[in-house]
């Protein structure tokens, strides 16, 4: 698979993967863990995110995957995709499809990813473009909530405790998941286009503002008791908005979010298969199909509420291993070797 990315394509892909499933599932656990000062915590977390990006940008050349590391990553991505699929399927079952057999819903979701991954590489890469108008609409409709926010909710500032810091920082990692794709695709970016410096900072700020806005809105809109009851605060928030021409905006955005998640699943699958093809050049179609069969079968074991929550907790720790520890080790070893 030979392809090249423009700067726009690269950042769009990264943004969609990072926001994909987590932008609905992120605010509630994060605010619950960190309390009123979650927004402060998120700023700290964002600085960490930027440092991680800078570290990646400096060292992406050294990040090469041997078969062993590549298998580790494939396992990780399989895990990520399965936890996303289990989550989206659980949510869909609760909201719209309580009686539909769940394997059918998952089957439909995965079929889309299979179709995209059997097409040209460029098809998967450019799939996020579809989401741009939808994300803009989403942000637009969230603005309706300004009338209902309670500004005083973020005060008093600075009452966060040590354990909350720790828990919050961990939960904040949910917004990071997918950042490792930077290392995978960075070398594919057009050499003529500059990434270092301003473009990277712009990306960081887009990512930051997007999540920061969602965290801030959650704190402002909900009382601490309220946010504990609602697993997807932003969806609930849209549910309460009254727009003249239509009721129940949440239903639209539930399905927009579904599309968003499918695109994320497609992109992560694409990454896994791309990495796989670097050392297994034959029978690519067969491997693609096997991967997607796994995607249909495995999530079916995790469809209960407690399982979904467990996966959402677990994924943070697994992510830390694969976004920080392994890249650092690989880069360190490769730097030594090249010297």
């Amino acid at each position: 698979m030979k392809f090249m990315l423009s700067r726009n394509q690269f950042f769009l892909l990264l943004f969609i993967v990072q926001t994909g499933s987590s932008f609905f599932s992120f605010p509630a656990p994060f605010v619950n863990a960190a309390g009123r000062d979650a927004w402060l915590l998120f700023i700290v977390s964002a600085i960490f995110h930027y440092m991680l990006l800078l570290f990646y940008e400096r060292n992406y050349d050294y990040f090469t995957m041997g078969p062993f590391v590549s298998w580790l990553y494939k396992g990780y991505w399989l895990f990520v995709v399965i936890s996303y699929l289990a989550y989206v399927d659980y949510t869909l079952a609760v909201w719209g499809f309580p009686k539909t057999p769940q394997y059918i819903v998952i089957g439909i979701l995965v079929t889309v990813s299979l179709y995209a991954n059997l097409s040209r590489a460029e098809t998967a890469i450019n799939l996020p473009v579809l989401l741009i108008p939808l994300i803009l609409a989403f942000l637009g409709f969230l603005q309706f909530a300004w009338g209902d926010v309670i500004w005083t909710n973020i005060f008093p500032i600075g009452q966060i405790t040590g354990t909350e810091w720790w828990k919050g920082l961990l939960k904040g990692q949910t917004a990071f998941i997918g950042i490792e794709l930077y290392l995978v695709f960075r070398s594919r970016v057009d050499i003529k286009q500059n990434i270092k410096g301003l473009p990277l900072f712009v990306y960081q700020m887009t990512w930051f503002l997007f999540f920061f806005f969602s965290v801030l809105l959650t704190i402002w809109y909900f009382t601490p008791t309220g946010v504990k009851l609602v697993p997807e605060p932003l969806l609930f928030l849209l549910r309460t908005q009254e727009v003249t021409f239509i009721e129940r905006l949440d239903l639209f955005f539930l399905y927009i979010w579904t599309v968003w998640t499918i695109v994320t699943v497609t992109l992560v699958s694409f990454t896994a298969l791309y990495v796989h093809r670097q050392h297994a050049k034959e029978k690519q179609v067969r491997d693609t199909i096997i991967w997607h069969v796994l995607l249909v079968v495995l999530p079916l074991f995790f469809l209960k509420k407690e399982n979904v929550d467990y996966l959402n907790d677990l994924i943070i720790y697994v992510h830390l291993v694969f976004a920080i520890i392994i890249p650092v080790i690989v880069i360190f070893i490769n730097r030594r070797k090249r010297k």
Partner: protein
């Protein structure tokens, strides 16, 4: 063979529909419900629509009994043999008795079921709920439309707060503010329900105290949540003649100074005069006098309302939100509603006439 199988599967879908299909024609819309509680048992009155002729909707009411909202609904379903659908619920009426329990717990189903909307209006009614559910001749409209229209108009005139189920839940969950809901009474002739003011809640439940419409307007001003039109009328004495003066609030600012056990609430109000037969509003002296008069009257009225709120232990204005955010020591003194009742709150209104209408 393969094609044939595919086609037959597709056709069977066409005939049967899917697992989670909810055909609209199979449901009965319920735009208005009323609930009463007696000795732990819930009685629900549902106004539902039926299509009697191809182009006419008619409304009827069915009563259900049970332990929960859902059970009441099922009971009603059984009685009329149709499936009531609450997704178009517009107005929920609750009796005073019912309002004395935590509404959030009672209406859990509204939040938990994805089909239900949270924009329905809530109101408390006095006495037996059954009489409110019936369409009387004086209503003119069908009962659901009557309530919806009345509540909307009243909210636009700042007489009642614009509170729907979601806003109510936010207030019930928030310790720093208390809920207050529209309060509906039967008119003296007993023919038509009237908006009588608001019912004050204290710490999640109805306190038993109510305010009349003029007082509830002041609460809305105090909380800085006015509707579109906010109008005050006073009688102004000049010599031995009295002139009625009606002013509308154009804009205003509030400033709360919170000290230990004392709150000074200052309101600077800019008014536009709507009625004032005395005229001469181009005369600076008259304007000064008028402003002083209005400031005094309004301050008096506002303070009266605060006293009433304190009696009811109901912080409908939301002083508690600011206190919680900026004055933790005061907040931590105890339960906020108790602290609030004991606080020394003094409202000062400074009126200023900004527009005099198109006459002098």
């Amino acid at each position: 063979m393969k094609k044939l199988a595919l086609i037959s599967i597709a056709c069977s879908f066409l005939l049967a529909g899917c697992w989670d299909e909810r055909l609209y024609k199979e449901f009965t819309i319920v735009p208005l419900v009323g609930y009463d509680r007696e000795e732990g048992e819930l009685t629900g009155y549902h106004t539902y629509t039926t299509v009697s002729a191809p182009d006419m909707l008619s409304y009827s009411t069915v009563v259900g009994k049970g332990a929960s909202v859902k059970e009441v609904g099922f009971d009603a379903n059984r009685k009329i043999g149709e499936t009531l659908d609450f997704s178009q619920l517009q107005v929920i009426l609750v009796s005073e008795e019912m309002a004395k329990s935590n509404l959030l717990e009672t209406f859990d189903v509204l939040f938990r079921e994805p089909h239900n909307r949270l924009s329905s209006k809530l109101a408390v009614v006095e006495g037996e709920i059954a009489s409110y559910m019936e369409k009387t001749e004086e209503m003119g409209l069908e009962a659901p439309d009557f309530y919806l229209k009345n509540l909307k108009t009243a909210a636009a005139h700042s007489i009642i707060p614009d509170i729907n189920v979601n806003e109510a839940s936010t207030r019930i969950n928030d310790k720093g503010i208390d809920l207050f809901l529209p309060y509906i009474k039967m008119s003296e002739s007993g023919e038509i329900p009237e908006l009588a003011g608001v019912a004050l809640f204290s710490n999640k439940v109805f306190s038993g105290h109510t305010l009349d419409d003029k007082e509830s307007l002041i609460v809305n001003i105090l909380a800085k949540q006015p509707g579109k039109f906010t109008v005050f009328s006073y009688e102004w004495k000049q010599g031995n003649k009295t002139y009625p003066i009606t002013v509308e609030i154009a804009r205003y600012t509030k400033k709360w100074n919170i000290h230990d056990n004392q709150i000074d609430a200052n309101y600077k109000v800019k008014l536009s005069v709507e009625e004032f037969a005395h005229n001469h509003l181009n005369d600076e002296k008259t304007v000064k006098e008028l402003e002083q008069f209005l400031s005094k009257e309004m301050t008096k009225d506002f303070n009266k309302v605060i006293k009433k709120l304190q009696e009811a232990k109901s912080d409908a204005v939301g002083f508690g939100r600011t206190v919680r955010a900026f004055h933790p020591h005061l907040w931590n003194e105890g339960k906020w509603q108790d602290t609030f009742a004991e606080l020394d709150i003094e409202v000062k209104v400074k009126a200023k006439i900004a527009h005099s209408g198109i006459l002098n």
